[in-house]
């Protein structure tokens, strides 16, 4: 009984707020297509089966936004300067209140992002979701993968400790191996023939503006295409229901009706009616929220327990420091053992 009372009270409070805000909503709706947008985006019918596999994109987008936020806050202390870059990171790490945690979130967020992008791509590949008419979504996704690792790589470079310095050295050298235009690329990136302060400011510009801006714009188009063409391009959703499936409830019936109408509408870009559908909000958003939260909690725990190191100051004459590749480039590092340089 006590639960019943609580629920009633909550509902009436929500209704009360709703009633109070209704004039505001109506005022806005007369000026902006609020209701239409809400019905298109929130009450978007999505296939009901396999929903948990379709949550990684949302987790990636969430993490991306967290990267932007932590990155902006790191910028309040970081100085992209030849002599001070590493010192300013030491300051963030050791002096700023909770600076180590913000830096840890940014670092481990990147690790999780690259991992999630891998899982997201595998899921897309194995569910056949890249097939017509979703080829553009896949192509933009591959572009996003490249931008993502480029952002992670340049972020490691601008630490400007030994590892960052040698990442830049190796990165610009690999760019220099490009046929024909390689030497120009390397020089453009370095800002000269050798690594100079311009290399740091250029790499910094790529990391904090150029690449994230491209990432955000293309990621938004990527998500827009998913919404436009209907979510879940997976074959599993268009197969007949297996025997013993429970009958659809009211929500599922309504969602299926809506998606049928949308597919028939010549102005719509949606294709194929899934055998079972449900509403994007709140049913699928809930799953996406759970997965995003689990991922972020994992990032938080990693940031809390595993401090991100700051290595020795830059010394090109070192006889003790052995540069290593970032983990997502280890495959490339091993490839370069045999292929590059013999060209």
């Amino acid at each position: 009984m006590i639960f019943g009372t609580v629920v009633e009270a909550t509902e009436s409070t929500v209704d009360l707020i709703g009633r109070e805000l209704e004039p505001v909503y109506n005022w806005l709706d007369q000026r902006l297509p609020l209701t239409r947008t809400k019905e298109r985006l929130l009450f978007d019918p999505v296939p009901e089966r396999g929903g948990w596999w379709y949550t990684f994109g949302a987790a990636i987008y969430t993490l991306l936004i967290i990267q932007f936020i932590t990155g902006i806050f790191l910028l309040m202390y970081y100085v992209p300067s030849w002599n001070e870059a590493r010192v300013s990171i030491l300051y963030i790490q050791n002096e700023v209140f909770l600076g180590w945690l913000v830096r840890g979130l940014h670092y481990w967020g990147q690790v999780a992002l690259v991992l999630l992008v891998g899982i997201h791509m595998l899921r897309t590949f194995f569910s056949g979701a890249y097939k017509a008419p979703r080829e553009l979504t896949w192509m933009l996704g591959v572009t996003l993968l490249i931008l993502m690792v480029a952002t992670a790589f340049t972020g490691g470079c601008i630490r400007w400790d030994q590892s960052g310095y040698f990442d830049v050295v190796v990165g610009t050298t690999i760019a220099g191996w490009t046929p024909i235009i390689g030497p120009f690329l390397a020089k453009l990136w370095r800002g000269g023939d050798v690594i100079t302060p311009l290399t740091l400011t250029r790499t910094f510009t790529f990391h904090v503006w150029l690449l994230p801006a491209l990432l955000f714009i293309i990621a938004t188009i990527h998500v827009g295409l998913v919404i436009l063409q209907g979510q879940f391009g997976s074959w599993i959703n268009y197969e007949p229901e297996p025997p013993g499936t429970p009958p659809p409830n009211e929500d599922e019936r309504a969602a299926l009706e809506k998606v049928k109408r949308e597919v028939l509408d010549p102005r719509s870009r949606k294709v194929n009616v899934p055998s079972r559908a449900t509403w994007f909000f709140p049913y699928h958003v809930f799953k996406e929220g759970v997965v995003s939260m689990v991922v972020f909690v994992g990032v938080f725990i990693a940031a809390f327990f595993f401090q991100v190191p700051v290595e020795e100051p830059v010394d090109p004459t070192t006889t003790t420091y052995a540069p290593t590749s970032m983990w997502f480039f280890l495959f490339e590092d091993q490839c370069s053992l045999s292929s590059l340089g013999h060209g």
């Binding site: 300067s81 030849w82 002599n83 040698f166 050295v169 190796v170 610009t172 050298t173 690999i174 120009f184 020089k187 453009l188 370095r190 800002g191 000269g192 023939d193 050798v194 100079t196 302060p197 311009l198 400011t201 010549p266 102005r267 010394d315 090109p316 004459t317 070192t318 006889t319 420091y321 052995a322 540069p323 590092d333 370069s336 053992l337 045999s338 590059l340 340089g341 013999h342 060209g343």
Partner: protein
């Protein structure tokens, strides 16, 4: 006939000229904006540091069997802040020549180091191997370690911030 069902009239001359003007304006403004930016970004291609000579070591520090590594510092140029270009230089006597070569591996640019027990220079990144004179001896690199332009002044060896072809005479004892 568009998807919405209304018709766009056939292109009149007036309409054509207006479309042309829109394209022209967009192109003109784009060039005005992009021109300076492209120049600004590509300007670094012209950056070539001026010739600088710095002292590496005195002649009696040079060995015939073991390349000794020295740190040389050139003044940095063409940057927004003052800085120094630190480079590692290996020096060894070969016959009557003195060789001064860089420590930057020709494969991926890591710093090579002298391993006395192997009597070889080794790169820690991908295992590039060079002999004591900096000649390529194995591993993924395709070239030997680059020679610095060098000269002898009094009892000192000097190097310049210039790379020369191997085989050139470097400095006579």
């Amino acid at each position: 006939m568009t998807e919405e069902g209304y018709e766009i009239p056939r292109r009149s001359r007036r309409r054509f000229l207006q479309e042309l003007a829109v394209g022209g304006i967009a192109g003109f403004v784009s060039i005005l904006v992009a021109g300076p930016l492209v120049g600004y970004f590509f300007e670094v291609l012209r950056n070539t540091p001026s010739l600088q000579w710095v002292r590496v070591c005195s002649l009696d520090q040079i060995d015939t069997m073991e390349p000794r590594e020295f740190r040389v510092t050139f003044k940095g140029e063409n940057a927004s802040v003052p800085f120094e270009v630190v480079q590692g230089v290996f020096v060894i006597q070969q016959g009557d020549q003195i060789l001064a070569f860089g420590n930057v591996c020709t494969h991926m640019g890591c710093s090579v180091r002298w391993l006395a027990w192997r009597q070889q220079l080794l790169c820690p990144c991908h295992g590039g191997i060079y002999d004591r004179w900096g000649n390529l001896a194995g591993g993924p690199p395709s070239e030997s370690l680059p020679l610095f332009l060098s000269r002898i002044e009094g009892n000192d060896l000097l190097v310049a911030n210039r790379i020369i072809q191997r085989g050139n005479i470097v400095g006579r004892v």
